[in-house]
Every structure is written in structure tokens, then in C-alpha cells.
């Protein structure tokens, strides 16, 4: 197994110590930082997301892998120059108004970050007005909304309507998710995509932006 494959394996396993040592080793050997990120770290997180979606691994294992990747990134960041890593896309994400649940949203944000997207997380109880204002500021490729309560789901529709009113609906794709949310509901309210879990959110995001 090559160094990059071995590092990817450690990230998948969530073995922080091994992954950090291997990342340092790769740097010492003079391997290209971008390659370490794309061929080891992001590749590993793709595998993790896929296995999670299939029910082969579970939330704690996914969290552990993401934490491992973050520790490796800390080592690599000082060597990155502006423009070295081209993000897959910009994602603006938040839990909708009236809803304080953040666990699912955090998992999605973490996996998108791990997959190489730039994620701006607006937190919980985000009003349609705030989504609109931030969409204007950040100019994301994808706007992600989460709701865990059937009673707060209507805020997703209200946010999409607010985006339309502000002439921003066509500037980004809208992806939604959360326990009571369905693909049918996404269609009803004019969202572009629905993701049932954090693993598939990455796949959906790539599909939306036409990246493999």
C-alpha cells in the first residue's frame, strides 16, 4: 500500500495518531499537499459517506473519521497557498426558523466540508430573511436547509419564496433534509434536491453541481 492509500485507510478508520503521523511523513517526503488532500483525505471521506449511507458504518465512526481529517488538515494548512485547493463549491447551511435541532445539520455540514466544499453554517433558528441576506453576501452554489419538526417544515417553503422575492432563487441550488422531510415535499416546495442523510447529502451536492 502506498503512503497515500495508507493515510486514506487511517482516516476511514478514524485513527487520529496514525493519520497525523502519515500526513507528516507525506509532507517530509515532499509529496504535493494538494494530492495529499484530494487523493487521501477527500477520497477517504467519500468512502466514509458512502459506507454510512449504506448502513455499513454508523454516526460515531463518521464523526471520528471527520475529526481525523480535520487534524490532518491542520498540519497541511500552513503549506497551502491561496488558490491551491479549488473548493468543490460553496454551501450555505442552516436549520430553519423555529427549529433548534442541529445534530443532523451539523453532520451534513461536516461531511460536505470533508468532501471539499466550503461550508458556511448559519446555525439554528435561521429566518428566511437571514437566509436571503446571507445568500446575497456569500453567493453560495448550494443553500441547505434542515428541519427536524413537522411544524417547522413550512419555513423551508417560506425561505424559498423569500429567495424568489429577492431575485436570488436562480443564483443557487436548494437542498433540504431532516427527519420529517421527504423527496415529495422537496418537489412540492420547489427545492432542487432532498438528501435523506449526511452521506447522501454529499452525493446530492455533487450531482447538483455536476461534479463526479
Amino acid at each position: 500500500m502506498g503512503r497515500l492509500e495508507a493515510l486514506a485507510e487511517s482516516v476511514i478508520k478514524g485513527d487520529i495518531d496514525a493519520a497525523v503521523t502519515q500526513t507528516q511523513g507525506a509532507l517530509d517526503e515532499g509529496l504535493d499537499v494538494q494530492r495529499i488532500i484530494s487523493d487521501s483525505l477527500i477520497t477517504a471521506m467519500d468512502v466514509v459517506g458512502e459506507r454510512f449511507s449504506k448502513g455499513q458504518i454508523f454516526v460515531p465512526q463518521m464523526l471520528r473519521a471527520a475529526k481525523t481529517m480535520q487534524q490532518c488538515m491542520k498540519l497541511l494548512e500552513p503549506f497551502l497557498k491561496e488558490g491551491d485547493v479549488v473548493p468543490k463549491g460553496k454551501v450555505l447551511i442552516g436549520t430553519v426558523r423555529g427549529d433548534l435541532h442541529d445534530i443532523g445539520k451539523n453532520l451534513v455540514a461536516m461531511m460536505l466540508d470533508g468532501a471539499g466544499f466550503t461550508v458556511t453554517d448559519l446555525g439554528v433558528d435561521v429566518s428566511p430573511e437571514t437566509f436571503v441576506q446571507k445568500t446575497h453576501e456569500v453567493q453560495p452554489d448550494i443553500l441547505g436547509m434542515s428541519a427536524l419538526l413537522s411544524t417547522t417544515m413550512p419555513a423551508m417553503r417560506q425561505t424559498i419564496e423569500a429567495l424568489q422575492k429577492a431575485d436570488l432563487r436562480d443564483t443557487c441550488k436548494v437542498m433540504i433534509g431532516g427527519a420529517p422531510v421527504t423527496a415529495k415535499y422537496a418537489q412540492e416546495i420547489g427545492a432542487d434536491s432532498y438528501a435523506p442523510d449526511a452521506g447522501s447529502a454529499v452525493g446530492e451536492a455533487k450531482k447538483l453541481l455536476g461534479i463526479s
Binding site: 433558528d125 413537522s150 417544515m153
Partner: protein
């Protein structure tokens, strides 16, 4: 005696709030949509027979039609079983309409410190005779630690009592969070249960179980063990599926082990009726 659940409250065992009539379950949503009373009645009877003290009714997914759907559920369920209900909604309009139809003393699920929710539900819970679930969360976010839960819970209980609601009518929910995301959430909820009951002697506690196992395999096993741990901390009421025989077996054996089942009568009865093993 109809419309009361005095039996279990009197013998100090767990108050069982049966959770299955919830429109977030597709089969229930379909039944409510079609006004299929027979399906709802079957769910109500099965849960009552399995030991429910309250039947939870939730029509939240119907959004702007929630009030009519909740009212229909109240009449349909109480037309078939003589039990009080747990009216599961944050919507004051749906709750006040449902309360008018309800027979007996219901549980209202739930009120929190969120300013709008508190203000709009306060008149509902103080105007009618009812019990209320009080969520241990501040208006700003989900609690992380036991301290945050006790702090938010204490503030809410204090407010409710000062508005004239007797402590015995309040069921404190410590908010159970997934253990998969943070392995300290189990003890945080358990310690909050104990903490609230120590601070407010006479207050009741309630929780749902299934959140704890989100993101992990064999959720039923985790839920059962968590129930036993909650019982050990003095949990008064649980929102669960009483037709889940393994869960009920855990409940009965845990209560017995904690000395709450004289002569082990309930445990043995359940066994002899084929409910255990």
C-alpha cells in the same frame, strides 16, 4: 373508572404514554387523511391493552389542518378506549380545540422557555385541568450538559408554578439526545432527571427513548437499556410503544429489581400471560 389512569399513578409504577398514533408515521398519516377510524381505534386498543396509561395523539404533519385532525383523533380514540390522552402539539389553537373535546385530565406535550411558545400555551395549560410536559431547554438551543438542562428546567418549572400550576401537574422532560454524537448525552439526561426531582420534590419526569439510539445499530436494545437506567433515576413517565414486548419486559423487570413490584406480582403476571419470554 373511565378517563383516568389512576391505577398506575396510584401504585407508583411508570406512567406509560403510548406513542404510536403520530402522523409522522406514514400509516397513521394515511389513516387520518382518510378518516379511517378503524385503523386508529385498533392502534388505540392495542396500546391500551398493552398497558398504556395515556394515548399520545399527534397530527403535526398536517400543518394548517392540524386542529381538525387532532380533534378527530381525540374523538376517535376516546370513543374507543377509556383513557386520557397526551395531546402532542405546540399549537395553542389545536390544543385548545382538542381540550374542549377531551374527557378526563390530559397531558399537554409540551411547553418550553421559548418566549412565544410559553406565552401562547400558558393560558391553555392554566385554563383547563391538565398536566403539562416542560422541556429542559432554553429559548436559544438544545441543552448539552446536565447543568444546562437543570438550569432551563428550573426556570421553566419556577415560571409555571408562579403562574399557579401545581408542581404535581408538571412533567419535566430532560431532552434525550443521541449518544452517537456525544457519548456524554446519556448521563447528562440521567443526571438532569435526578437533579430536577431533587430540586422540586413532587415534580414528575418524562422522556422519550428513541432519540438516544439515533445513528447506531440495534436501536431497540439501546432504548431498552436506557429505559432501565431512567427508571433507576426515578423517571415517572415514558413515551414509548407499549406493544413492544421486549421493552415492556425490560420495564417490568427493572421496576421489580428496584423494589417497586411487591411479591414480584406484576412481573410474574406478565410472564403467566405470555407477555415475557
Amino acid at each position: 373508572m373511565p378517563w383516568t389512569s389512576a391505577r398506575r399513578i396510584a401504585d407508583s409504577s411508570m406512567i406509560i404514554v403510548a406513542e404510536k398514533i403520530n402522523t409522522s408515521r406514514k400509516s397513521v398519516a394515511d389513516a387520518v387523511e382518510k378518516r379511517d377510524a378503524q385503523s386508529i381505534i385498533k392502534l388505540a386498543r392495542d396500546q391500551a391493552e398493552a398497558g398504556a396509561d395515556y394515548i399520545d395523539v399527534n397530527a403535526g404533519t398536517f400543518l394548517d389542518r392540524e386542529t381538525e385532525c387532532l380533534c378527530w383523533l381525540v374523538e376517535t380514540v376516546q370513543g374507543a378506549v377509556s383513557l386520557p390522552l397526551c395531546l402532542d402539539s405546540p399549537n395553542p389553537k389545536a390544543l385548545s380545540q382538542a381540550l374542549k373535546l377531551h374527557k378526563g385530565v390530559p397531558i399537554i406535550n409540551s411547553i418550553s422557555l421559548d418566549a412565544d411558545r410559553f406565552a401562547s400555551l400558558l393560558s391553555v395549560v392554566t385554563s383547563e385541568e391538565c398536566q403539562v410536559v416542560a422541556l429542559c431547554m432554553a429559548g436559544t438551543g438544545m441543552p448539552r450538559t446536565a447543568e444546562e438542562r437543570v438550569l432551563a428546567g428550573s426556570e421553566l418549572v419556577g415560571k409555571l408554578v408562579s403562574e399557579g400550576l401545581p408542581l404535581e401537574r408538571i412533567l419535566v422532560d430532560p431532552l434525550v439526545q443521541p449518544i452517537s454524537v456525544d457519548t456524554s448525552t446519556g448521563t447528562a439526561a440521567l443526571e438532569a432527571l435526578g437533579g430536577m426531582m431533587t430540586r422540586f420534590p413532587g415534580v414528575k419526569t418524562i422522556c422519550g427513548l428513541s432519540n438516544v439510539s439515533f445513528g447506531l445499530p440495534h436501536r431497540g436494545l439501546i432504548n431498552r437499556n436506557f429505559l432501565a437506567l431512567c427508571i433507576c433515576r426515578g423517571l415517572s413517565a415514558a413515551i414509548l410503544d407499549p406493544t413492544d414486548s421486549q421493552l415492556m419486559a425490560t420495564l417490568l423487570s427493572a421496576e421489580m429489581l428496584l423494589g417497586q413490584d411487591e411479591y414480584c406480582e406484576k412481573y410474574i403476571n406478565a410472564y403467566q400471560r405470555g407477555r415475557i419470554g
